[in-house]
Structures are given as C-alpha cells and as structure tokens.
C-alpha cells in the first residue's frame, strides 16, 4: 500500500493486470476465445471469403461434418443450399450487431436518465421512474409488434424497440447507484468546493457508476440476444431475407426431423455467445471488486 513504488506506466500496468486476470479465469478466457472466433467468422464473411454462397437448390439440406465437400460446407447447407457456415456468420453479424447496438443505445440513454433521476430526484426523477415502470409493465412482444408494424420490419426498428424495452433496467440501476454515491463523502467534498450538479455527476458519480453499468450491459447483451432470437422465432423480429440466429432456429424448426443441423447450430451459437457475455460480466465484476481479486490469483497459482 504505502510504499509500493509503481514505476510502470499505469495504462500498461492495468492492461497487464487484466490479461493476467483473464488468463487466471479459464471460463472467461474461453468466452473471449469464442467471441474472437465469432468475430473472425463475421470478418471472413463480410470480406467475402464465403462468396459463392449462392442459392443452390441441389445442395439443399446437405448434412454437416462431411469433410469430402468444399470446406465451406463442413457445417452443412441450409434449405436453399447455402453453406450453413456462411449463414451462421451472416446471422452472427445481425444477432450480435443488434444486441450490441441495442445495448449501447439503452445503456447510454438509461444511464443518463438514471443519473438525472437519482441525482435530482423530485418531479423529474419521479417522472422518469414512472415512465420506466410503465415500459417495464408491458409485454415486450406487444411493443415489438407495434413498433415493427408501425415503422416496418427493419433491423433499425427492432433495435429501437428493444432498446426502449431494455432501458428501464439501466435507469433503475443507475438511479439506485447514484442515490448511494450521491451520499458519499467525496461528493460532499466536491460540493464544498462549489461543484455544481453537472460537475459532480460527470466527475464523481459517473466514473463510479460506469463499471456497474458496463457489467449490466454485458449481461444485457446476452439478454437482448436471447430476446431477439425469441422474437425472431415468433416471426416478430428479424424478417427474411435478413437472417439472425433466432430466425435460423425458427426456420430450422421446419426441418427438425429432416435436417436437425439447421436449427441446432444457430441455437448453440446463441447459447455459447450468451454464455460468453454472462461469464465475461462475472469476470468483470470480480476484476472490479478488489475484495475478490484473490479468486483470480489463486487460480493462477494452482
């Protein structure tokens, strides 16, 4: 504590510590590896490696793991004879993209509203909270349907609808945390120096609230992915010809007994990705809580 001389530049030290902590947690490490794999797949797809993934009705429902085919067909082909690998990659971009953008949108708006509601309270706070209560009370299905019906079934609209329905959780957490942080002594100290509300929110409250929001966001990426897949499964989310994992499951359902791989792989992908985000959220929590650091370290030594 007192005389630990830290000569290393802080950013590097932090990065090194994060890497060490990551290696110490095998589950988190696996998650990162999986996400990187998915990312590579997406990049491969967008850069056209799967080009020629055209409809080919003769290759319809080709079974997977037949290594005698072209490598693109190792995961089998879908109902229109396109390589499943390419479809999975394209769906990954939609599914993860939707989840990330949705969460980004809702985390920013939700945090801002939560900070405002928590710090100022009063009428604005009450208004924000009631509004978020009402949003929470709604069946998301209905909201999604209305949104998609009114504004057309596009990915953008899906993102907006999902972002709105996810926002309340951020508002609540940000508000609760703000209420707590607001009472801490260092906030009082800043006030004694003459810090105004925005100064305090920006410099003192936000930095404390942000890691919690980040953790929540990570969990929420997982939730949104599940949710989007559910909506798409019901035909209320991503619409063909666009494709997402959820939609692939829905489409694969028709081939449940004839070509199980059509529904199996996208479902597995949803599960692994969701799990990765959850595990990373866990890991992130531990990394951000010094009292739990020994967990990471102990594992490293074993």
């Amino acid at each position: 504590m007192t005389d630990v001389s830290t000569t290393m530049p802080r950013k590097t030290a932090r990065l090194a510590w994060l890497t060490r902590a990551l290696i110490a947690d095998p589950m988190a490490l696996c998650s990162v590896i999986w996400l990187i794999l998915v990312l590579l797949l997406i990049i491969a797809n967008t850069s056209g490696i799967f080009a020629g993934a055209r409809i080919d009705l003769k290759a319809r429902n080709l079974p997977p793991f037949d290594l005698s085919f072209d490598w693109r067909l190792w995961f089998g082909a879908d109902a229109l004879g396109r390589p499943l690998m390419a479809r999975l990659a394209e769906a990954a971009l939609t599914s993860i993209g939707i989840a990330l953008v949705t969460v980004l949108l809702s985390v920013i708006l939700g945090t801002v509203l939560g900070l405002v509601a928590g710090y100022f309270g009063g009428l604005i706070g009450a208004a924000i909270m009631r509004a978020s209560d009402i949003i929470m009370g709604f069946p998301t299905l209905l909201v999604a349907l209305v949104g998609l019906y009114l504004f057309g079934p596009s990915v953008t609209n899906l993102v907006i609808v999902l972002a709105i329905t996810r926002m309340p959780s951020y508002i609540r957490v940000a508000r609760a945390e703000t209420l707590e942080v607001r009472e801490r002594l260092f906030v009082d100290a800043a006030r004694v120096f003459g810090g105004g509300p925005f100064w305090i929110i920006r410099n003192h409250i936000l930095p404390i609230v942000a890691p919690t929001m980040l953790t929540l966001a990570s969990v929420n990426v997982a939730m949104v992915m599940l949710f989007e897949s559910g909506l798409s499964y019901l035909g209320l989310g991503v619409q063909p010809p666009a494709v997402s994992w959820g939609l692939m499951i829905a489409q694969g359902q028709g081939y449940l007994s004839s070509a199980w791989w059509l529904g199996f792989f996208p479902g597995l992908a949803v599960m692994l990705t969701t799990m990765s985000f959850n595990l990373l959220a866990n890991w992130f929590r531990i990394v951000n809580d010094p009292s739990q650091h020994w967990r990471l370290v102990r594992r490293k030594r074993q």
Partner: protein, 321 residues
C-alpha cells in the same frame, strides 16, 4: 474586539417533517474568532455532523443563521457563494470515503482550482500541487497515485491538502482523526496544529475523543442531543466542568495509567442517548442525570455563566451546586 469569523445564531436542523422530526441540531449559537480553534464534543448521534453539514450548506438549515465573515451561509448566491466556499473548507472523518477512488491525486487536489478558475492559472497547478503535498508531509511524486494506494493517515493528509488548496480562513474538521490509528493520529494532530499556526487558520474541531479535543482546542463546546450544554475555555472545562454530563463524560474516559486504576471517582451513566425525535421535556439530560429534579422536567435550562468563571457557560439548573 473584531467581529467573529463565524457567527452562528439559533441554528436548527430538523430532519423529516410531521410532528416528530429528528431534532438533530436544536437552537445552537456560538462563534469562532479569526485563528481560534473551537472543539466540539458529544456522544454519537448528538448532532455534531448535522451541525457541520448545515454550516457547510450541505444541508439547508431549518431555522437560524450562520454568518461567515459577514456572508449569510444559507442565502449566499453567485459571487458571494463562491467567496464563502473559498473561505470555509472541510476535512471529513472517513479518509477512505472522502476521496474519490477513481481520481488520481493530482486531479483530486486541483479540483478546487478547476472549480474556481480565478484562483490559480493552470500553468501553476502542478507546482502548487507539489507544494501542497510537501506541506502535509507527502512527496510530490505521490501526485501520480490513486487514493487507494495510500494508508489511512496519508489519505487524511491528502484530505487536508485538498482543503487547503483554496487557502481558507476557516477549516471545519469533522472527527478528522477518529478513523486513524493512535500512532498516526498524533501525526495528523501535529500537522493540523502546524498548519494552523502557519496560516492563522480558524478551526471548528469536532471529535468524540476528549483527549484529542483537549489537546487541540482553545475553547470547547459540549453537545448533547442537539443542544450545546456547556461551553468554555478548554482549561476550565477540563478542570472544573459544571454540567453533570460533562463531568460524567470526563470521568468515563479511561486513563492510560494503570496506577490510577480504581482510584478515580467514576461516574457511569445509565441508559442510552434518548431519541432525538422525541427528546425529554425540559433539560434533555435529565433522564440520565443523577441530579435531576422536578424542575428539570419542566424548564429547559439556559446556557449561561453559572460559576466563578464568566467564560464558562453551562445549561444546568443544578450547576452551581
């Protein structure tokens, strides 16, 4: 005699509305002169922190006034408010809570200047930070660390350094050493004493450790359940207290001298502090007082000189006895 630096008249702070508000501070009056240190002692929950926060305008006063160098703390606005903020600074009790853990020390210490742009040009911040750190016994290179990397005593020094950044004339210390170890506590007390001498600081020094208060203060106030029950020069209060509560308080402090064991005349008070939302009628101490009579229940005693020393003010009907 010049006007006091801080003048508090009939200040009250009640929490909660309705018929039973918590009367955390109830009609308190006192003043602090330039360069003077006033000690404030009392049991936990008696309203010390509430008073401090009201003075700092972190709470709105329920009634009464507090004037800092002619500025009414409760109503100051604009330039007046800025002046007031500059003149009065605070050191909090908990050195772990009062520094933002995610701010590096240099940002922490320069925050006052960032908020009061006219005080110090930005170019001079870093040299001034070094000076401040040295003034509180830390090293300039500490500016690059985070609060989490300091020990409790060092953090409290950081808190003090930050409070001094605007060069205030009044420093309010809310139990600045209660959370510190004995060996470190002495360092901080000495530091405060030195700074006070060097800068002619006036201080309101809040503590529940009577020994520390005795060591630090020029004058002492004893608070009980939101009221000042006795105040006077440090010497008098500690040698010949007149209020039964002050007497009990003093006698309850264990002496670090085993040879005195069993020889002192100790008064062990019975019971706990009554609830501040429903204080006893008349004298608030009467429920635990061995001298209490009918009279005490009926009438609240005024704070006034009741003995040979005119500077010792006591709020007790039986103080002269």
């Amino acid at each position: 005699m010049t006007a006091p630096l801080l003048d508090v008249r009939d200040l009250s702070k009640h929490f909660g509305a309705g018929n039973t508000p918590v009367r955390a501070v109830d009609g308190v009056s006192f003043s602090i002169a330039q360069g003077e240190t006033l000690g404030l002692v009392g049991e936990s929950g008696c309203g010390k922190t509430s008073l401090v926060r009201t003075l700092l305008r972190l709470n709105a006063a329920t009634s009464g006034h507090a004037m800092l160098d002619g500025i009414d703390i409760a109503t100051a606005r604009g330039a007046e408010l800025r002046t007031m903020r500059r003149k009065m600074q605070v050191v909090f009790q908990d050195p772990y809570q009062s520094l933002n853990p995610r701010m590096r020390v240099d940002r922490l210490l320069s925050e006052p200047w960032a908020l009061h742009r006219d005080v110090l040009p930005r170019a001079e911040w870093s040299s001034e930070i070094a000076r401040l750190l040295e003034a509180v016994g830390l090293r300039p290179e500490h500016a690059l660390r985070y609060p989490g990397e300091f020990s409790g005593g060092q953090r409290q020094r950081l808190g003090i350094a930050r409070a001094l950044a605007l060069n205030p004339s009044l420093l309010i210390c809310d139990e600045p050493v209660s959370a510190l170890d004995v060996s470190v506590q002495a360092q901080v007390i000495n530091l405060l004493a030195r700074l006070r001498r060097e800068r002619n600081l006036a201080m309101l020094f809040v503590a529940h450790d009577l020994a520390v208060v005795r060591h630090v203060s020029d004058r002492v106030m004893v608070m009980y359940l939101g009221r000042i029950i006795e105040t006077g020069p440090t010497k008098t209060i500690f040698s010949t207290p007149r209020h039964p509560y002050t007497q009990a308080l003093l006698s309850a402090v264990p002496t670090p001298d085993p040879t005195q064991r069993g020889k002192r005349n100790r008064i062990v008070l019975q019971g706990d502090l009554p609830s501040p939302s429903n204080p006893p009628s008349g004298c608030r101490f009467r429920t635990r007082c061995w001298k209490a009579t009918e009279h005490c229940a009926r009438e609240a005693p005024a704070l006034m000189a009741r003995g040979p020393d005119p500077a010792l003010l006591t709020a007790c009907h039986h103080a002269s006895g």
